[in-house]
């Protein structure tokens, strides 16, 4: 399986789309985590918008972990899902499943290698986000004449782990959708509709009206990703601490396992057309 992992890493690291997704994640995080709030420091609306409460303190170095994780439940999660779909779905798009499988690797090993690649890419994205937001927070501190106070190493490591879990979970969902639907476009479309529309509708419209929906929220992937990010001080739409970080971690880890088992089972059972 190590050779399969090496092959998958080579495929994705040489793919321009992978680097584009990483760049978009970093740019969006810096834009909505620092550039926009900094530009609005003096003229922010008194209330209303989700970013209204985001003041200078949220942009300083001691809060950079929360800033780095703020985009994970929304756009970074969406980008991770797209990456997961590309990792598995492109094999259908390019027609390369047969090319790979006639070389006689086990299907489970190839699937496992794809999941490992998604996890490695998730870690790389989170590291890049942490580096970028740390740099941005240091810049804001120096511009505002604030002291450089960094969070503890354990907070940074825990934040990295939380971010890694969230990106891996969304990436694994992308892999599962791609294998389930055997394509690229439809899984991306459906995944994004769920991640960006359905989850928000459930949270903002259904949950306040229906108790069972509010309870259901506690076991859905998006709200748990938001809750985990919120436990590190993240503040963004969809980021709300509806459950504790321990429960959120367990739910997200459970989803990773479920997505992995389902995806592997589907790939193992299905014919390669």
């Amino acid at each position: 399986m190590l050779r399969d992992i090496r092959a998958e890493l080579l495929k994705q690291s040489r793919r321009p789309a992978s680097w584009l997704l990483l760049a978009v994640a970093v740019v969006l995080s810096l834009t909505f985590g620092y550039a926009v709030p900094y530009a609005g420091l003096d003229g922010a609306p008194a209330s209303g918008g989700p970013g209204a409460g985001r003041g200078l303190s949220a942009m300083l170095p001691d809060a950079f972990v929360g800033s780095a994780l703020g985009g994970l439940p929304i756009f970074v999660g969406a980008l991770a899902l797209i990456f997961g779909v590309l990792v598995a779905g492109s094999e259908y798009g390019f027609g390369t499943w047969k090319t790979v499988l006639v070389q006689n690797p086990s299907r489970v090993a190839v699937f496992g290698a794809k999941l490992v690649t998604v996890a490695v890419a998730g870690l790389a994205v989170v590291l890049a986000l942490f580096a970028a937001t740390a740099g941005a927070s240091a810049l804001v501190a120096s511009l505002q004449g604030q002291a450089l106070v960094w969070p503890s190493a354990s907070d940074v490591l825990l934040g990295l782990g939380a971010g890694w879990l969230v990106t891996t979970m969304w990436g694994a969902l992308g892999v599962l959708l791609a294998i389930g639907l055997r394509s690229v476009a439809l899984p991306i479309g459906l995944g994004l509709v769920w991640l960006l529309a359905v989850q928000n509708l459930l949270a903002s419209i259904a949950a306040p009206l229906l108790t069972w929906v509010a309870e259901l929220q506690k076991v859905l992937p998006g709200p748990n990703a938001g809750a985990l990010a919120a436990s590190f001080g993240a503040s963004a739409p969809g980021v709300e601490q509806i459950v504790g970080s321990g429960q959120a971690t367990a739910v997200l880890a459970g989803y990773v396992v479920v997505f992995a088992v389902l995806g592997g089972w589907l790939l193992h059972r299905r014919d390669i057309a």
């Binding site: 050779r3 399969d4 090496r6 092959a7 080579l10 495929k11 040489r14 793919r15 321009p16 492109s90 390019f94 027609g95 390369t96 047969k98 090319t99 790979v100 499988l101 006639v102 070389q103 006689n104 690797p105 086990s106 190839v110 014919d271 390669i272 057309a273």
Partner: protein, 280 residues
């Protein structure tokens, strides 16, 4: 598919023929473990397609498919990793298919012929005992087809067994030692190309035609003489041509043509599969 049993001998080039929809590609996909039979079992090298048996097989199924954003060499490196073979093997197979000069170029820039050659290179990565190729010359120009034919013959000469699916009868005729003909999922013939075409006739054009037919009827028996337009076809051994020619000349008939005529592979193929000329 029904009770299909292909006997492909070591070191030969075996042609797998059949009209569209006969089940050739389905057979090859089952053989390679890409699809599973709805019932029954598939056996390759005496075992179910699996890690051990497929380790001895290289394949190119339904045309080449690679990652377009990678070079030919990078594509093969990825496949070498999946196959569990050394990456140094990549340069060897690129050399075999004469793609070394373009190996660093992106696959998306390759011509169809180069893509087919890269597909063949991928099939050779494992140094397989059996190479399974599904329509490997599809879409190639005559030079490209000739290149592939030469490579396949060289593989067979080096001891590799080749199972070649094709609907190009001329190609099969040129490079295959034996053929299997598939029709509606059943093997309707499996033999050598010369045997497949056996059943030829001695073709005679002599005049007057009616007198010639009567004379040959007396000489050979009327049931062995058939009229085919302006010619006669005789169910005789080719060695009888001299005696028949002498008899016709002695009878004062004007012999303008006397030759052994074999049916071409297409005629035989159509007869076996009950197809119309465009079905092949």
């Amino acid at each position: 598919m029904a009770e299909l049993n292909l006997s492909v001998h070591a070191g030969e080039v075996y042609g797998f023929l059949g009209p569209n929809g006969a089940g050739k590609t389905t057979t090859l996909r089952m053989l390679l473990g890409l699809i599973r039979p709805t019932s029954g079992r598939v056996r390759l090298f005496g075992a179910e397609p699996g890690t051990a048996s497929l380790a001895r097989v290289g394949a190119l199924i339904e045309g080449p498919a690679f990652y377009p954003y990678l070079s030919g060499r990078a594509n093969l490196r990825i496949l070498a990793d999946h196959a569990g073979v050394r990456r140094t093997r990549v340069d060897d197979v690129l050399d075999v298919v004469t793609l070394t000069d373009r190996a660093k170029d992106k696959y998306s820039t390759y011509s169809l012929g180069m893509k087919q050659r890269l597909g063949l290179a991928a099939a050779l990565l494992k140094e397989p005992e059996l190479v399974v190729l599904d329509e490997p010359t599809n879409g190639l120009d005559p030079a490209g087809m000739a290149d592939i034919r030469v490579t396949l013959r060289k593989l067979a000469a080096d001891g590799c067994t080749v199972l070649l699916s094709s609907h190009l009868l001329a190609e099969v005729e040129q490079i295959c030692d034996r053929v299997g003909v598939l029709d509606h999922g059943r093997l309707v013939a499996e033999t050598t190309v010369p045997d497949l075409r056996a059943g030829g006739a001695l073709r005679v054009v002599a005049g007057p035609l009616e007198q010639a037919r009567e004379h040959l009827g007396l000489l050979l028996g009327a049931d062995r003489v058939h009229t085919d337009g302006a010619a006669l076809e005789l169910d005789v051994d080719p060695g009888e041509a001299g005696r028949i020619n002498a008899g016709l000349v002695a009878a004062g008939l004007d012999v303008t043509e006397l030759r052994w005529h074999e049916p071409d592979l297409e005629q035989t193929f159509l007869a076996l599969t009950g197809g119309t000329p465009d079905a092949a």
